[in-house]
Amino acid sequence: MYNFKKPLTIISLLSLSAINIATAAEIAFSIDGVKNNNGKLLVALFKGETGHQSGKPAQYNAVAAKQGKVVVSFKEIKQGEYAIQVFHDENDNGKLETNLVGMPTEGYGFSNNAQPNFGPAKYSDMKFAVSNDDAVIENSTTLIY
């Protein structure tokens, strides 16, 4: 009996691969204003408002902090709407430090350099789109300490 399964699988994989080549993009996220070389920059990529509200990132990245500017890449990104949040984990404990009433005491920032204003930055200010045609999406923030 002819085994259709194997070639079909190969075809399927090839198809998927072709789709990925056409739609997978890279996000290059520039983080400016890093205060010092201490600890890490922890960066989360959220897919869509639902993903953002759930607090569950599609990807996250931890890179060594470097005074000045650091660029973080997210690869294999499918088309859709995204938002990025970052904080400077200066003491490298994996935790966003806050003061007694919950205000961050470590640097933080958002895609589109969205700014908090008497409350968290709005998703509508930090969202950006990735389309089929994009190869590399550039976005940036300046950390708020």
């Binding site: 959220f46 935790k95 003061n99 007694l100 958002f110 908090p116 204003n117 968290p120």
Partner: protein, 513 residues
């Protein structure tokens, strides 16, 4: 490092549980610019042409360079040091005039008193807010009452900290104080802003106190240690105990359940902190109300004025008292006897009209009838009973000898005024034991500012009372020095500037060592 913890922290950045607004800072949020912002400046200028006494509320354009003052009388030989004052001075940029006296950027006035001479300089406190707006040559951030159409976003209280209310000496620096954010550290050499003080630095609190509200009325005890509070937007009050150099020794949060929106002053005894919560209600949590934050503050006759007594030792609540309804910006002193009876004095208003009146004056409405504050003495008994006596004397800006903070005092020094005056015109001292009053009336042509007692011999009733006053007809400000034991004869020395300074709020004296 735990992945779960990292993800939780990252998601916190988008959560509503952080980046909250500490109390008054909440008021700076803006959506609806008032339609008549430009007119405020025009209204004030029209009124100024008719009422020269508004001169103290005009805008200040630039710093005041060193100036040696001309002296009348003779300065005492044992009065040596620096008298610092603070107050709002930058009321206008371009066509925008702030709509409330509390909104302007702070300016430090320094009077250096040495060798029988007085030298003055005044400098805007170049906070990050002031620097940005100075460079832009326009206001960038909305105020509690002044809403800008395109206000810059505000990520923390200190973004909009105007440092405009009081100034104290801490360590080798000055701290310029606001009430909704950090102290601003000022270099005494050049009066330059150094940084916002992160109160927990060099202590076990680390960064956990960074950016917290710190009132403009700390109580500095005779050993130099500093007590203060800050009102959080949740209605809780943060209580601070700092060393003489400003290092945090103990900090706690008291669940005060206060929703009045303004809490300006407090008191300490030797054992307790007194949080005195006036009968105010903030009408609306809607910060987009174009009528402004201060107009949302209302007085309620039906609401008791509460006193929460907090143990200094562990910052826990000891007990709470309910007094008749009342409102005060300022208190003089508190002390307690061995049986635990607590005494304190306050300049009590019968309502909170003064809050709006200090906005009206920015439009040039100086004659709005509003009742004055009057000195009232309170007693809180261990049994829970209370007593209060209104001395029926108009009073504001009460001060006592600094070495008696939290201890038994007899003398309270304060300003007084004729009925319905927006500013004061006389200085007074009252002996709270005997009721004897000593008073000097400057006359209606003066706008008298806070006067503070200085006791070089650490003996109440001796020493001096010093403070500034603006002489309206000549448009000049003078520094006045009285003998503390005889105000009625008038100042024993008076030092004149050739120009006037903006009317300010509070100050303190740093003696030369």
């Amino acid at each position: 490092m735990h992945r779960r913890q990292i993800l939780k922290s990252l998601s916190m950045l988008g959560a509503s549980s952080i980046l909250l607004k500490p109390s008054l800072v909440h008021a700076f949020q803006t959506q609806k610019p008032a339609s008549n912002i430009v007119n405020v400046k025009a209204l004030f200028n029209q009124a100024l042409a008719q009422k020269p006494s508004l001169i103290g509320f005009t805008n200040t354009e630039k710093n005041f360079d060193f100036k040696t003052l001309s002296i009348e009388g003779k300065l005492p030989n044992d009065l040596l040091g620096w008298f610092y004052r603070n107050g709002p001075a930058k009321h206008e940029r371009q066509d925008i005039r702030y709509q409330h006296l509390f909104e302007g950027d702070g300016m430090i006035q320094e009077f250096a008193i040495f060798d029988g001479k007085v030298h003055h300089r005044g400098k805007f406190i170049d906070t990050p807010k002031f620097e940005k707006e100075q460079a832009a040559k326009r206001f960038l951030y909305s105020g509690p009452d002044t809403k800008l159409a395109n206000s810059f976003p505000v990520s923390s209280a200190d973004t909009i900290n105007t440092a405009n209310t009081n100034v104290i000496a801490v360590g080798g620096d000055l701290w310029a104080l606001w009430e909704a954010g950090s102290p601003s550290q000022i270099d005494t050499e050049n009066l330059a802003f150094k940084q916002h003080v992160s109160l927990g630095e060099n202590s076990r609190y680390g960064k956990t106190l960074k950016g917290l509200p710190f009132s403009a009325h700390p109580k500095v005890e005779s050993n130099g240690e500093i007590w203060n509070f800050g009102l959080d937007r949740t209605g809780s009050v943060i209580v601070y105990h700092l060393s003489a150099t400003g290092r945090a020794k103990n900090v706690g949060i008291v669940n005060a359940r206060y929703s009045g929106g303004i809490l300006h002053d407090f008191l300490v005894t030797q054992k307790h902190v007194l949080l005195i919560l006036p009968s105010l209600i903030r009408k609306s949590a809607d910060t987009t109300d174009e009528h402004g934050y201060f107009n949302q503050i209302t007085y309620s006759d039906a609401q008791a004025m509460r006193v929460i007594v907090v143990n200094k030792s562990d910052l826990t609540i000891k007990r709470e008292y309910e007094l008749a309804s009342g409102f005060a910006f300022h208190f003089g002193n508190a002390w307690e006897t061995t049986d635990g009876t607590i005494h304190f004095d306050a300049s009590m208003y019968p309502n909170a009209d003064i809050v709006q009146a200090l906005g009206n004056v920015m439009r040039g409405h100086q004659s709005a009838a509003h009742p004055n504050a009057q000195t009232t003495l309170f007693t809180l008994y261990p049994s829970g009973k209370t007593a209060q006596t209104n001395l029926a004397i108009n009073s504001e800006f009460p001060r006592i000898c600094s070495h008696l903070v939290g201890k038994r005092n007899n003398m309270v020094y304060f300003l007084s005024s004729r009925d319905s005056a927006i500013w004061s015109d006389s200085v007074c001292a009252i002996n709270t034991d005997t009721g004897k009053i000593d008073q000097y009336d400057f006359g209606e042509s003066y706008l008298v500012e806070e006067h503070i007692p200085i006791c070089p011999q650490f003996k109440e009733g001796t020493g001096y009372l010093i403070g500034t006053a603006l002489h309206v007809p000549t448009g000049r400000t003078c520094l006045n020095v009285f003998s503390a034991n005889n105000l009625a004869v008038g100042p024993i020395a008076r030092a004149w500037l050739p120009y006037h300074l903006p009317l300010g709020f509070h100050g303190n004296f740093k003696a030369a060592t």
